[in-house]
Symmetry: C2
Subunit: 302 residues, 2 copies
Amino acid sequence: MRQWPDFIQIKEVGPRDGLQNEKKRVPTKDKIAWINKLSETGVREIEYSSFVHPKWVPQLSDAHEVGRKIKRNPNVRYSALVPNLKGLDLALEAGIDGASVFMSASESHNKSNINKSIAETYPVLEEVIREAKAAGKHVTGYVSTVFDCPFEGKITPEKVIEVCDHLVDAGVDDISLGDTIGTAVPSQVEALLDKVLDRYSSEKIIMHFHDTRGMAIANIMTSMQYGITRFDSSIGGLGGCPYAPGAAGNVATNDILYLLHGMGIKTGVDEKKIEKAALFIQKKLGKTLPSKSLAYAVAQQS
Amino acid sequence: MRQWPDFIQIKEVGPRDGLQNEKKRVPTKDKIAWINKLSETGVREIEYSSFVHPKWVPQLSDAHEVGRKIKRNPNVRYSALVPNLKGLDLALEAGIDGASVFMSASESHNKSNINKSIAETYPVLEEVIREAKAAGKHVTGYVSTVFDCPFEGKITPEKVIEVCDHLVDAGVDDISLGDTIGTAVPSQVEALLDKVLDRYSSEKIIMHFHDTRGMAIANIMTSMQYGITRFDSSIGGLGGCPYAPGAAGNVATNDILYLLHGMGIKTGVDEKKIEKAALFIQKKLGKTLPSKSLAYAVAQQS
């Protein structure tokens, strides 16, 4: 039998990557109550909102207020998505601990998502990274569509590494590699990590899987076989796929916890508290979240 | 990068293991039309019904009529669940190509499911296996709850092997090991297959996963790493969990195909035809099937 890592670190991205794909607006006070619950689950990092312009993500237009009003757990790093210096200023005012910059490994997805070429994006992010580091903040660089792009298909590991290199040179602390549209299968994860881990240590790499086609848990297993110990996930599988409304989005925190705890791997996160926080937001949204572990828990209680 | 098998054989169990957990009765003519569609997808085996007493599974009480009326594709093995000699007689009359006998590796689950102790079950199945083999039929032995039992918890690999030994001695052609309640994580699959494959060749073993907590695809990956090349699955993830109504059941054929074809592994099965057959039964049942790949395909079309 294989040796598995002792501990896996989960970053809860539900309040940002999850909610930004939900059409129904969640009132600010409910978000605050919900993030306060998440703060007590044992997760060490919560990406709690986004400072992109409100017209792009109206759901998260209260990022500043939420940041000021949540009850901070000193053991949790509260991070937020930051697109540019203006966003960073607001995020710093709101009291973030970490800034997440983002771009795509696909030229056409980058263009579609942030309206700039990859080359035009670098200087903007470099500025944000420099200022965020100068302010003493942790900085994560998200690289999206690292496997497949909805517009141009397969993305090569070389292209992903080129983007990583720019972000690391600019000073990010770590890199989160995103299967943004949830298409990857384990052999693609192997092909990418074979090359990425030739260049970077596994501690620097976070894997960010979407479960759009039900492959995320298998991809996480494959990543762990490569020594990856950090994953992003969204409570209950909250969120969706902007390219296929109704399909699933981020892998569910509940499902990762079921996997890891079942394998005897520690996370520091309390499954029952995650379940309660998932049911809280499920009720607020009035929809059934896609996590199968959550659905099982609900079915068993009823 | 790892070497993966060239070909994986899928047995479609939707018409039996899937439907038996669906409360809404599907009219016989719809079942026949649906199985005829499944017959043209490229799957080599369809477990098309069950010859247990109709009072236990009213949904499948038309097993005889369905068997007589489906249009046989000569490339497909049509098998059915057979509990005893009486069931076998009916199944043979209905024209089955394969008989599936079944019992549990857990004493209490066996008792609950077939109202006999494990020791009392052996002679019944031995008789069925002998007669089915004498009639020239393929015989599969299902062993259920090979990881966890809803009543008594963990089941040891030794107990599973003890049951397998009895079935193999009695003459089954192969053994399907079932994660009946969908609790297993990959480390449990490793622990079981380490021992089972010490005793039996991988060709004799089929893995039968339920996706109740979203772990099935990861468990299939792990099984493939052990050389397993045969899996049971249910179209669209049709079916459920008798111990938690509303939770997911069998792993979805659609999700396995997405995995395998994405990894360049052949199955001989046409994903688009599987999708159409899944949508056919989804519509007849008036419910959304749990497969995430199917949900994605539907979302993309809408």
